[in-house]
Symmetry: C2
Subunit: 506 residues, 2 copies
Amino acid sequence: MRRQRETGGLAEMMDGSVFELKDEGQLREREAVLRERLLDAQFDLAESRKESILVLLNGPDGAGKGQVLNRLHGWLDPRAIKTMAYDIETKEEYRGPGGWRYWRDLPAYGHVGIVLGSWYHYLLHRRATKLINKSEFQERLDIVNRIETMLAAERVRIVKIWLTLSAGQAEKRVKKNHGGPGTLKNPLLREWRSIDTKGERKRLVEAAQEIVASTGPEAPQWHQVPAEWPMARDLAVGEIVLDAMQQALAAKPPRKAPKPSARPRRVSKGPSALKALDLGLSLEKSDYRKRLAEAQKELYALTRSKKFSKRALVCVFEGNDAAGKGGAIKRMRAALDPVHSEVYPIAAPSEEDLAHPYLWRFWKRIPHRGDVAIFDRSWYGRVLVERVEGFAAPADWRRAYEEINDFEALLSGGGYIVHKFWLSIDQDEQLRRFEERKEVPHKRFKITDEDWRNREKWPAYEVAIDDMVALTSTPSAPWTLVEANDKRYARVKVIETLVDRLKSEL
Amino acid sequence: MRRQRETGGLAEMMDGSVFELKDEGQLREREAVLRERLLDAQFDLAESRKESILVLLNGPDGAGKGQVLNRLHGWLDPRAIKTMAYDIETKEEYRGPGGWRYWRDLPAYGHVGIVLGSWYHYLLHRRATKLINKSEFQERLDIVNRIETMLAAERVRIVKIWLTLSAGQAEKRVKKNHGGPGTLKNPLLREWRSIDTKGERKRLVEAAQEIVASTGPEAPQWHQVPAEWPMARDLAVGEIVLDAMQQALAAKPPRKAPKPSARPRRVSKGPSALKALDLGLSLEKSDYRKRLAEAQKELYALTRSKKFSKRALVCVFEGNDAAGKGGAIKRMRAALDPVHSEVYPIAAPSEEDLAHPYLWRFWKRIPHRGDVAIFDRSWYGRVLVERVEGFAAPADWRRAYEEINDFEALLSGGGYIVHKFWLSIDQDEQLRRFEERKEVPHKRFKITDEDWRNREKWPAYEVAIDDMVALTSTPSAPWTLVEANDKRYARVKVIETLVDRLKSEL
């Protein structure tokens, strides 16, 4: 008896009016099979943690995105599914760069996220309302394609769904949902309410066509799902999601890295940036004090200026062990308002970090506008320690250069000022500092066996550093190589460089 | 040689001008000893994860809060210390209820947080500027005392520091820091810049005295640190922090719970709320459809109203296993804008959750203003499953009733609407539903061995539920007991109750 009541609920859950009863039996059967398979696949996926799945639900108002969302929530186990729903314009969005909110909410491996108001929705909206022109639109699509390719490589499976409905039907549905009492049966999603004029609608259609046409070969393809019949629509979406979960389960396990070569070769061309450094550069104490104080004062003023409040500074510190990153960061921090700045020491990733693409933990720490984030080590670990130690497979660290450039381009594109410092010392100076650290009680914690082991890989690190600088120094996110044998010189160079950069940006 | 340069850096790091050289040798020695002990204690604490430490740095502008902060960062291992710095008024603050931002940023056990702009700063500011009157101020201090007592019981050690400086000195320092070029050596913290008039200053001093006088006996006491001599000041603060870390290390391990009594007794008085329920209540299908649709429509309108955009709804669903929480939540979700609502299924706490006080993982999920959060199970696990299964010691779940009331009072005080539902079925109905779940393929995931085991503890749960309702139902955060043997009746009651509540609140 129960069983019957349950399937009776099926018609009840639906929009009802447009449902043709003659198909009910068949659809009901499809639904029963689908629900069971979905739950099985979802359970296996959550266990395996192989991939995460992002279902992008797109379509015109009235196509029933809210209904599909609710149906998927009814079918799937709520513990491993989350809604990621975004308005076109929110305060948060303004607080972070493009993509920030999607990244921050990425589900962990094994979980499913359903996205309403995806990046496509955002782009289409901007194009339809002429906030961006055709070529800007194309540029951004290009970035989106690259990021989706990266996400796929990072085990995030994107399922792109476009619900299709004729314009007349859509309008009818929207009106009905806004009609008299008792008509609200499902959440209302009126994503396109601000698209009014004929011109806007025309641009919207053109832009949508362009999106489908320009989807890269390695980026996930679009699924078009007719939205006339609610139950048929939901079953079609459910089957696409099931298919994605089964593909995720069948995916090969992540590449394992072979033992790294003892004699690594550079992957970039051009001269060594490290070899060009003059590590003899130094500063007298009185000079140091004067220039440091002056630069700190300017840095403070610049980062508290009105212009800066609409920008943000993301600062990366990398360097040889014992190169003096901590000391330089300390001097920089002293010139910043503690309320609007944060230093992030980056150690080995946590369990939660490992359940997401490698850039996720950095996206989480991207500052709000008006703020400063200092990364003491960073995403460059991917092409430094992970490359040299063999924690990442060659194919993985090789693709990281482009991925990091794309990541930083998103920051720059959002008005963020990105600057990266490599603090460079030579082997003799490092040895001196290691010995010193052994002696001074309060510095002992700074020296571990690992530091000594890293020292032996000096040549491999040199190759990795030269590649990194050659492949990821861009006009909007440059590397500054800092001669750091003399700590005073290094500290002043860092802060003066930042002052110059900020002056030219603001 | 190096060693000397390092200690030479000591004078350089300080404000300089007010330092008397005759003490330098002595202070230098104290600093060397302190740094080593701090690092040792910090390392042990991070290993043990016994407690977390919150250092509240308070004091007048010019006393050098920013300098102390920087010094502590210089002394301690940056990997287990974080700055928690807050402005008096930020956008975030507006987005959440009182205490939200502090809770969200709580360091994990084993870590140290240094708080600039603590809750005391916030309260003093509001009192000085007459945003609250004396009795409101006293009320809030009372809440603060209770929360600090709770945090202490939850292994968060609060270290309250007030830097003292005569008014004349403070003014001089502030001016100096704003003087000509080259004077900025440390971050500027001008927390009190908006306190201008004589009246404001008088109220500030009075309120500060009241804070010290009214600190509860179990709440942590204040340390007053003279701020005239920067190095002496920093050493005094460092030694207080060291002392706190050593006390944390010496603290007894958390209580272990004994095996729970098979025949639990109620801790509250009064009749059983559960026994008073008429589980025979039901609704006809046609009635159900009509009333549900009507209530959903109202709920949608209310949660999208302008008035609601300055409020928020926090909704808790608890109930017997198989009582139909999921179905009720689904009908509720269908009436909400997905962009502004979220359902949180609460399962066993994660590693990260366990590294924080038990309420932390719920604070993290408190919605922004204008939004709705639905908790599918909640913080009440503390006084339900944790009590019944003996996961929490009696002393711990007993104190939880008051703690939860305080937590919900903070939400209500911040304009949040809190409503809690207990969905109640009887044992026969539960058995029927369990059997059904075994049969229907897509419901199988909903039934586990644990559900059968829980069933055997039915009487113990009844006692716990009656206590919970009796001790935590407050006018601003009431429990609604829902007769749920009939699913239709339950769903309609939930949504109609919410509609009534929202109408009376908005």
